[in-house]
């Protein structure tokens, strides 16, 4: 069973629809037991880091999400769901996040002439680490965000905006997490979801 974690951080309809387009049934759930027993876990999210972390705590989901991201099950973070895997975000005056990926999340600098939020299709390129992501290097994905995650050792795809090179995707074995929205990135986005569905449990 593939669980989509519902922690009141944005709309999950698009994510569910995208998996449905691939013929994969998903369960949208806030139930810790359902997430703990899922074979695969999708962790989406839009909005603010602080309320997202508050919601995770209030729903009793912090430990099951941490477990799902680290116990060898295929795990897919999307957008804010990627950012809060990191240690810390500058958002809302500073928020401690899940600490699964070492590194920080910062706001795009003002005054570069580039609009904030970044909205639209930006191309990604692989780092030396990019294994699964190699197939997607050079392709454009749909991004919507005002904060970015710094480049870390697990970064497999990078992109650039407002004069900053940042993480478009991290990979650590079966843990994938992307800043962009594969569910809204047309055919290439579906290809990425399909590739993730081929990731095996470790």
């Amino acid at each position: 069973m593939t669980a989509i974690v519902d922690y009141r951080a944005g709309n999950l309809t698009s994510v569910k629809n995208a998996f449905a387009a691939l013929g994969v049934e998903t369960v949208v759930t806030s139930d810790p037991a359902a997430i703990a027993s899922a074979d695969r876990v999708v962790f989406p999210g839009v909005g603010a880091a602080r309320s997202a972390m508050d919601n995770l705590r209030n729903l009793g989901l912090v430990e099951v999400v941490k477990a799902a991201a680290t116990d060898g099950r295929p795990f897919l973070g999307i957008c804010l769901g990627m950012q809060i895997l990191f240690d810390h975000s500058e958002e809302d005056g500073g928020v401690d996040c899940l600490g699964i990926v070492k590194g920080g999340v910062r706001r795009f600098p003002d005054g570069t002439g580039d609009k904030i939020p970044q909205i639209g299709w930006n191309d990604v390129s692989r780092t030396e680490r990019g294994e699964c992501a190699a197939d997607f290097s050079g392709r454009e994905f749909y991004f919507v965000h005002s904060y970015y995650a710094e480049v870390v050792p697990e970064t497999s795809l990078v992109t650039e905006y407002a004069g900053v090179k940042f993480t478009a995707m991290v990979e650590r074995g079966p843990l994938w997490a992307c800043q962009f929205h594969p569910e809204k990135s047309g055919r290439v986005g579906l290809d990425l979801l399909r590739a993730w569905l081929d990731v095996r449990r470790r």
């Binding site: 639209g120 930006n122 809204k184």
Partner: protein
């Protein structure tokens, strides 16, 4: 590099896509879902739907259509028309739209922008505006509402700044003067607003040839541009437009 977006606009009237000039002479163009799929497969970067009769008929937006589009296309889309409160916004977003567009409602009640941004995030809230050339306001452009029928006395640039401060994540500048002419975007008001706000600006009204998009991106600093008649009537495809943009030096998503 972030690419410039080409956004087909579908005006929906009684469940069908229609196209008129200055809200008149509407022609039936087809089924919204079929057209959305066609444009998405054809390289559109995003879509926008306006339920153009919802407000006038005092009814909520057609949620069934929003759900059907969300199930059928894998690119982002915005929906406007018939939004009168945060609960309406929520229905549209839960149905699978990325963004909700407000226009006349926000003029009457600017607080709706802040409420929407707080509830769903600024990226979900699009301010649509219909400025017209006018000697009555400092920028030379005045905001109209209700499908160009009412003049508000509000300055277009001041309104854009205020809306961005309130939390609009994006601003669609639909020039009343250019709308439906197919003679090109109104560059001046687009550029004035693009330079005045820190959020992305979408140019709208007047696209008739692919070169018009090159011009609005290069000269008026738009982040995205809306196209309608020039593609709806088959004069050009999205691919035709993008080829010209690419050749004109505009960052463009060329594979899809």
């Amino acid at each position: 590099m972030l690419t410039k977006r080409v956004i087909p606009c579908l005006d929906v009237r009684n469940g069908r896509v229609t196209k008129g000039v200055k809200f008149k002479n509407n022609v039936d163009l087809g089924d919204p879902v079929e057209m959305a799929v066609g444009y998405s497969d054809g390289g559109a970067d995003e879509l926008v739907f306006y339920d153009i009769t919802a407000s006038a008929e005092h009814r909520p937006i057609d949620i069934g259509m929003v759900e059907a589009v969300a199930k059928s296309v894998r690119i982002p889309f915005a929906v406007g028309g018939g939004i009168s409160c945060v609960a309406d916004m929520e229905r549209v977003i839960l149905a699978g739209a990325e963004k909700v567009s407000v226009n006349s409602l926000a003029v009457r009640n600017p607080g709706i922008i802040a409420e929407g941004a707080k509830a769903f995030g600024a990226q979900c809230i699009v301010l649509g505006m219909d400025p017209v050339r006018s000697g009555k306001t400092p920028s030379g452009y005045e905001i109209t509402t209700r499908g160009f029928r009412e003049f508000t006395g509000m300055d277009a640039v001041e309104w854009a700044k205020r809306a961005a401060d309130l939390g609009a994540g994006e601003i669609v500048v639909n020039s009343v003067d250019a709308d439906g002419t197919r003679e090109g975007f109104e560059l001046e008001i687009t550029r004035l607003i693009a330079e005045a706000v820190g959020v992305p600006v979408v140019a709208s009204g007047g696209a008739g040839r692919p070169e018009h998009l090159v011009t609005v991106f290069r000269e008026a600093k738009a982040d995205a541009a809306i196209v309608a008649g020039m593609i709806h009537f088959g004069d050009y495809t999205i691919a035709d437009i993008k080829k010209v943009m690419h050749e004109g030096g505009v960052p463009t998503r060329m594979s899809w």
